[in-house]
Symmetry: C2
Subunit: 140 residues, 2 copies
DNA sequence: CCAAACTGATTTGCATACAAACAATAATGT
DNA sequence: ACATTATTGTTTGTATGCAAATCAGTTTGG
């Protein structure tokens, strides 16, 4: 008698693994860069890379929906790391700009951000890291 | 003149990739099993696997902290999928039990849960899936 | 035995995350 | 021109997720 039905082991499910690895990564990030969160840093990095963006476009560039990006931008603005200005061309738009303080934070923390990625991947060899990034990219 | 400093490309960072893959997975789950969330299903699956557990232990078994698991259990209890009873052995403890309704939901949805994992991994070959799960397990 | 340390649960506060509904504005087709 | 449609941003509601503080109950060391 063969038991053919696979057992649903939570720990083997992709969703559960993603959640746990994310938890570990967030903890490392929070230790190393307590001033901002991962999402806030993502916004700053994109603004540094692409220059001023409308709030909606910024959301698309950082994989956040409109409601989420609004909250993130609000909190960054409260910290003085970004500024928002109305767009005279399109009165619906809100342009989000990196402030000098935001740019300074980015400049002083990029190296640490790389270290955070390294620490997260520390249990893997170099080759394994490359494979993992490739596979996750296919799933993103 | 070699530019030696690596550029911080958000899309290559493990944290950003994890967030995007998780988003895709959550969307698939929500499509297929709208009655409960991924975390709620994780709680149900663990209770099915291990039987009644104290709320704190349940949290450890599902990688949720005490505050988070309380919310999840409360919402599951409101839906009648789990029940909580005080533990006479240790008056601090709250025992969480799967109700018949919860067990029925699990039974009727496990197969779909497998399909969800499959759909999430659909862009990968069988060999790639195995590798990915192995690598993520090392990072969890 | 009993103070100190520990554990279980709750609460508050903050930060994502997404769905749904909405208002204002812009673009489009006829 | 103008009604339809689309886009941008805001708001509300629900659900994680974690830190920190607190309270109640249990265990342990001297």
């Amino acid at each position: 008698m063969m038991e053919n039905r696979r057992k649903y082991v939570l720990d083997d499910q992709i969703g559960y693994l993603l959640r746990m690895v994310t938890q570990r990564h967030l903890a490392i990030f929070n230790d190393e860069i307590p001033e901002v969160t991962t999402t806030q840093f993502a916004v700053i990095a994109r603004l540094e890379e692409l220059g001023p963006l409308s709030q909606n476009l910024l959301g698309r560039e950082t994989a956040m929906d409109a409601a989420t990006v609004k909250g993130v931008v609000d909190r960054l603005a409260r910290q003085g790391l970004v500024a928002t200005t109305p767009d005279p061309e399109d009165r619906r738009r809100l342009t989000v700009t990196l402030t000098p303080e935001g740019a300074a934070l980015y400049g002083s923390r990029v190296a640490t951000a790389f270290e955070i990625s390294d620490k997260t991947l520390a249990p893997l060899s170099g080759a394994e890291r490359t494979v993992l990034i490739e596979l996750l990219t296919k799933l993103a």
